[in-house]
């Protein structure tokens, strides 16, 4: 059998090769949760865009800033931002929970339990969020 990097599909015309449906991700709850987690990427991108809109408005002065705040009260913007909050939050939680799988830390010869990797990530999240809130709200 040749060891090639390519994929050789053996010629067996009577073997059954079922086709994967486009809706494979609706078949199991875990697949759906996976796709939801991946879709959070779109909302991460929107968050960056929204952040840039805010920065741009602030740069143009108080009137533009007030205009942006008004605009953010519109129902569809509110729904979009609320969904983004939920999904980016979902991204954060799944990310921190899965971080120990990639990051294996040894203290001498023993392995640090994954719990501490996740815990330190969550702690960092609290600290960074507090700093961000303090910076934004103190004026």
């Amino acid at each position: 059998m040749t060891q090639s990097a390519g994929h050789y599909t053996a010629y067996h015309p009577r073997w059954l090769r079922p086709h994967i449906s486009t809706y494979w991700w609706l078949r199991r709850r875990s697949y759906f949760a996976f796709i939801l987690r991946e879709i959070s990427s779109v909302f991460v991108a929107w968050s960056v865009v929204y952040l840039l809109l805010i920065i741009s408005a602030v740069g143009q002065g108080p009137a533009a800033y007030q205009g942006l705040l008004e605009w953010s009260r519109q129902p569809w913007v509110l729904v979009l931002n609320l969904s983004s909050l939920l999904l980016v939050g979902f991204h954060a939680v799944t990310w921190f929970n899965l971080a120990p799988q990639a990051l294996v830390v040894h203290l001498g010869h023993t392995r640090l339990p994954g719990f501490w990797i996740s815990a330190s990530n969550y702690a960092a999240w609290v600290v960074v969020s507090a700093i961000v809130a303090w910076i934004v709200l103190r004026g």
Binding site: I20, T22, W25, I35, E38, I39, S40, S41, V42, V44, A45, S47, V48, V49, Y50, L51, L52, I54, I55, S56, V58, G59, G61, P62, Y65, Q66, L69, S72, R73, V77, L78, N81, L82, S84, L85, V88, G89, H91, A92, W95, F96, A102, N121, A124, W125, V128, S129, V132, A133, I135, V136, L137, R138, G139
Partner: protein, 116 residues
């Protein structure tokens, strides 16, 4: 001799973006996307925000946040298109669109913050 692939680098940027986005974006969204519009908290004045953003460290931090978050999103979305729509054969086109958008967004944010 290992074939030089872009994948390891893309994955590292994706990971960095994932961490940064997870740490920074939720609170920003909570404040500017939900709390201020709904009146739960009084929004800060434009002058305060201007002085905060104006600081070179903040601007640098914001450029980094925007850039890595956009690349994180681009990388993840690229794979979602492969798996969700089964269009892996359009590999080059998808990669171009995804990372291209991330580059455009990153350049835009860098420009915006440099000109602030």
């Amino acid at each position: 001799m290992i074939k030089r692939s872009a994948e390891p680098l893309l994955w590292m940027v994706f990971s960095a973006g994932g961490v940064v986005a997870a740490l920074v974006l939720p609170m920003l969204l909570l404040l500017f996307g939900v709390a201020f519009p709904l009146g739960w908290l009084t929004p800060p004045s434009a002058t305060h925000l201007a002085s905060v953003i104006g600081h070179p460290m903040t601007r640098l931090a914001l450029v980094i946040v925007c850039t890595v978050s956009l690349f994180h999103a681009a990388h993840r979305f690229r794979y979602t298109l492969y798996d969700g729509l089964q269009i892996k054969h359009l590999n080059e086109v998808i990669a171009l669109l995804c990372y291209g958008s991330a580059i455009v967004g990153s350049v835009a944010s860098a420009y915006l913050l440099a000109m602030f």
